[in-house]
Symmetry: C2
Subunit: 244 residues, 2 copies
């Protein structure tokens, strides 16, 4: 294990602790301490600290300018994993969510969709594609399949300024129930990256979510790509089964 390797390992360790502090708003006015102070704090060499800051810069989390030092480049927003919430609901403290509708259409879905939504083959669904922004900057690209009776009234709704969840509860007159979700990290393909205004290959947090009404009927199947540099998911888990 040569010194270069050890430094890379140590830099990763320091970067992880700094990332946590940045994401939780630990640094007033987004200004990180000087390298020398960080080196003392983390019991690391200046070179290791510099490498750690380099890793965070690569992630788009900090900027480094001569004379200014290291500053937080971009706020990373927390999305709760402890309750089923729409984007505007969960981020209301952080700014305004707006939705650009890229496509909205009735379509005969592939079996993969009918099956998930518990629909007979051939029954049409509403397909909706939205680019979602927080304070004007792209945050996610959402592909949504809705069962027809629930989705069709959305053609007349203000989709630009409302979460689908809130609209669905108003349309159906009942609250949503539960959602099953799958989370993955994927690299953005060139076209998706362009849509999200991110570099090609950027890490995306990909969410597939099937949402049911309170009466347990599945009505809303979504494929959501969040920009990895703009969002974290937070939740908690219990060790004991059945305490979820």
């Amino acid at each position: 294990m040569g010194p270069t390797r050890r430094r890379a390992d140590h830099a990763r360790q320091v970067a992880d602790l700094l990332r946590r502090q940045i994401v939780h708003g630990h640094f007033p006015r987004g200004q990180l301490p000087l390298e020398a102070a960080l080196a003392r704090e983390f019991g690391a060499s200046r070179n290791t600290v510099r490498e750690a800051l380099g890793l965070l810069r690569e992630e788009g989390l900090v900027e480094r300018c001569p004379g200014v030092g290291t500053t937080v480049a971009r706020e990373k927003y927390p999305h709760g994993l402890h309750r089923l919430l729409g984007l505007a609901e969960t981020l209301h403290e952080h700014g305004e969510v707006t939705n650009q509708v890229r496509t909205m259409t009735l379509m005969e879905p592939p079996r993969a969709v009918s099956h998930r939504l518990n629909l007979p083959a051939g029954e049409q669904v509403v397909y909706l594609e939205r680019l979602r922004r927080l304070n004007g900057l792209p945050l996610s690209l959402d592909l949504t399949y809705l069962v027809r009776d629930v989705g069709e009234p959305l053609f007349d709704a203000d989709l630009e300024h409302n979460d689908i969840f809130v609209l669905l509860e108003s349309i159906t007159g009942q609250p949503l129930g539960t959602a099953d979700l799958t989370l993955e990290a994927v690299n953005a393909d060139a076209h998706t990256a362009a849509v999200l205004d991110a570099p090609p290959g950027a890490a995306l947090l990909m969410v597939e979510r099937l949402t049911h009404l309170a009466d347990s009927r599945p009505v809303d199947l979504e494929f959501i790509r969040f920009r990895g540099d703009r969002l974290t998911m937070r939740g908690h888990l219990n060790r004991a089964a059945g305490k979820e």
Copy 2:
């Protein structure tokens, strides 16, 4: 909106549905249908299907060989988000988890760690770094800080074949309680990519997790980088508050 743009959007839509089917083991022996059949199934052109399969190949999910067609390249394993489980516990159906200990040492932690573990400044912790493999292939790189009384007995434990969680419960004589976690998608830096045997820039699912004993004392702070192409997280959410 030109035809190229529309095809890219449609390809993404098809790719998402195929990804779901692949990840859930929908295709017997990992063999995908022929392009023509997929085109019919998804109501898409052959070119669109080819582009969708290209996206999944870029993600490392499928392989395409002339004469053989498209096959699933790599199983993607589900990690439950509904209960606090160690890796070997959650993946026991899928194969053997082995852990290579890269570093294990007593250290005086930075304040960022003491604070999270609720320790007085200067109190030492056990730092542990493990490369975790499933069936021999790298799955995650885990950086772990443990409070000293709980972590020190691990120097004599079989860390190669056991989850930390199981060992902690045996050492403390009490079950674990809850964990707070933060999930992010990040691009692998060059050194991390090399350790995980993944391409530089590969999307990683990054988990920061603080685990408490049943008596609510925080004992275990972890920073985990999962290879995005090998793992999904699955859980479910309730709309109603307090039903978590």
